[in-house]
C-alpha cells in the first residue's frame, strides 16, 4: 500500500545494504534524485540492475555503492563511455565491479517474467554470440515445436525505483510518454518506490499512459525535478548539455569526487 513519504524515509526503509536494486528509466523519467539519496545514505554491496545504465549508475558505481551490475547497454547516450563504470571494471576503482551482461531483449524478458511471477523469460536471442557463454542464460527446447530458445532468469529485485509524472493522494501513479520497463520493474520487485513530479487530487487519464495502482507500490515520494538531467514529458526537457558535461566531470577520479561532494552529498534532503 503506497504511503506518501519523504524520499529520505523511502530510501531508509526500503533500500538495504546488499540488495538487488533496479532504478529504471529509458532515457525518460530516470530516477536521478532517488539514486542520489541512495548515495547519500551510503548504501553498499548493491547489485544494480538496469537495461541502460547511464549517468546515475556511473555515480552510484563511482561512489562505491555497487558490487555488481546487471545490464545490457552501459553508456552516456550520444556522448560516449561511462568513465566511472569503466574505471571500476578496468581498474577495480573504487572497488571491483562484477558484470552480468544481457541483451536488451533478454533484460526486457527477464523483467516481464518477474512481473508475471514466472521463473524465466524466453527469447529467440543470444544464439551464436559470445554473450551466451558469459551471461546467465540457458538453452531450452520448445516442448511443442522442438525449437531451441534461450531462457533468461526472471529479474526479482529487492527494490525497484522509478520516476513518474503524477500520483494522486492515495498513491496511485500515472506516467506517460516513453514508459520503458517501468511497469514491469515495479511489479517484479519485492519493494517499490516511485518518485513523482506532482501530487494531484485526481489523475486525469492520458493516452498511452501506464497507471500503477497504489496497492502495488510501497512508497511514493514527491520530488519535483527528480529525473533531472533526464526529462519528464510535460514538465521539463532533457538537459542534453549536462550529459555532454558529464564526460568531463567523470573522466578523472578527483574531479568526479569533488563534483559529487558539492552536488550530491552536500545537497539538503529533498521534499
Amino acid at each position: 500500500m503506497a504511503e506518501l513519504v519523504p524520499l529520505r524515509t523511502a530510501i531508509e526503509q526500503l533500500v538495504r545494504d546488499g540488495d538487488v536494486v533496479a532504478l529504471e528509466g529509458f532515457t525518460h523519467l530516470i530516477p536521478h534524485a532517488a539514486g542520489h539519496e541512495v548515495i547519500r545514505q551510503r548504501r553498499r554491496d548493491l547489485t544494480l540492475v538496469r537495461m541502460t545504465p547511464d549517468v546515475v549508475y556511473d555515480q552510484l558505481v563511482g561512489m562505491g555503492c555497487a558490487r555488481k551490475l546487471v545490464f545490457s547497454w552501459g553508456g552516456n547516450p550520444g556522448v560516449g563511455s561511462l568513465h566511472r563504470v569503466r574505471d571500476a571494471v578496468e581498474h577495480d576503482w573504487p572497488r571491483p565491479l562484477e558484470l552480468e551482461e544481457h541483451s536488451h531483449a533478454g533484460m526486457a524478458a527477464a523483467y516481464a517474467a518477474g512481473a508475471a511471477n514466472l521463473p524465466f523469460g524466453v527469447v529467440r536471442g543470444y544464439r551464436d554470440t559470445d554473450l551466451a557463454s558469459q551471461t546467465n542464460v540457458e538453452r531450452i527446447t520448445c516442448p511443442f515445436t522442438g525449437e531451441q530458445l534461450a531462457a533468461v532468469p526472471a529479474h526479482r529485485p529487492d527494490a525497484g525505483i522509478v520516476h513518474a509524472q503524477q500520483a494522486d493522494r492515495r498513491g496511485n501513479v500515472q506516467l506517460w510518454g516513453i514508459t520503458g520497463v517501468q511497469k514491469e520493474v515495479v511489479l517484479a520487485s519485492k519493494r517499490s518506490i516511485v518518485t513523482v513530479e506532482e501530487v494531484v487530487d485526481e489523475l486525469e487519464p492520458r493516452p498511452g499512459a501506464v497507471v500503477l495502482p497504489h496497492w502495488v507500490i510501497d512508497a511514493v515520494s514527491h520530488v519535483p525535478g527528480g529525473a533531472h538531467p533526464s526529462y519528464a514529458l510535460g514538465y521539463y526537457d532533457r538537459d542534453n548539455e549536462f550529459y555532454v558535461r558529464w564526460a568531463e566531470i567523470s573522466r578523472e577520479r578527483d574531479i568526479f569526487a569533488q563534483w559529487m561532494e558539492e552536488n550530491v552529498l552536500r545537497e539538503s534532503v529533498l521534499a
Binding site: T27, S72, G74, G78, S81, E101, A105, T129
Partner: protein, 231 residues
Amino acid sequence: MSELMAVSAARRLQDGEVCFVGIGLPSLAANLARATHAPNCVLIYESGTIGAKPTELPLSIGDGELAVTADAVVSVPEMFAYWLQGERIDIGFLGAAQIDRHGNLNSTVIGDYDHPKVRLPGGGGAPEIATSVRDVFVMLKQSRRSFVERLDFKTSVGERVRVVVTDLGVLEPDGDGELRLTHVHPGVEPEEVRAATAWDLSIAEDLAVTEAPSEAELGALRSLRTKGAPG
C-alpha cells in the same frame, strides 16, 4: 566524411521500409532518407517509439521529440518481443568497435572479457536486431583496428548484414557471405581501403565510385543538423 556515410546509407533505404534506428549516424541516415526520396520510411527507436518523425536529430533514443511525433509508443518489453522478435522490421542499423569479414560485430570489449583493455557499452539491442530484421546495415569508420581478422568478442552475428558503409567506401557480402569492396567514396583509392582492413579484402570486379551528395541531399543534411547531433 560522416555526411557521405549518411548519404550512402540513406540512398539504400526504400520508401516505406520500416527501420530500427540507433542514435548518431543511423539516425542521421534514416532521417535524411525521410527528408529526400523516402518520406514514408517508418522510424522505430528502441525506446518504444514507432513511426517517430523528429524535426531535430535526437541526442538519445528516448528524446521527448520522438515520443511526441510517433504514431505509437509501446513499452520496451513489447518493442523487443512483438515488434523486433516478431520480425516486423525491415532494416536494422548497427555500429560496432570491430567487424570481421563475415559481418560479425563486437561492441562489448577490446581485449579479454574478464580483463578488458577497453570496456565498451555492450550489445544493447544488437544481438537480436542482427537476427530479427530482414537486412542489417552497418555503419562504422574503417581502419585496421576496426576491420579485424578476428573479433575480440562476438556481440552479434553477421548473417543478415547486407551492407557496410564506412568513411572510405561500401562493402557488401559476396555469394559466400564474405564482405568485399563494392564502392569507394570520391577520391579514395581501393588500395587505401585494403590498407585500412586487417583481412585480405577482395575488390568487386564492378567496383563503383559513390556518387557525390546532391544539392538536395546536402540541403537536407544541413537542416537536420541541430541539437548536439554528432559529426
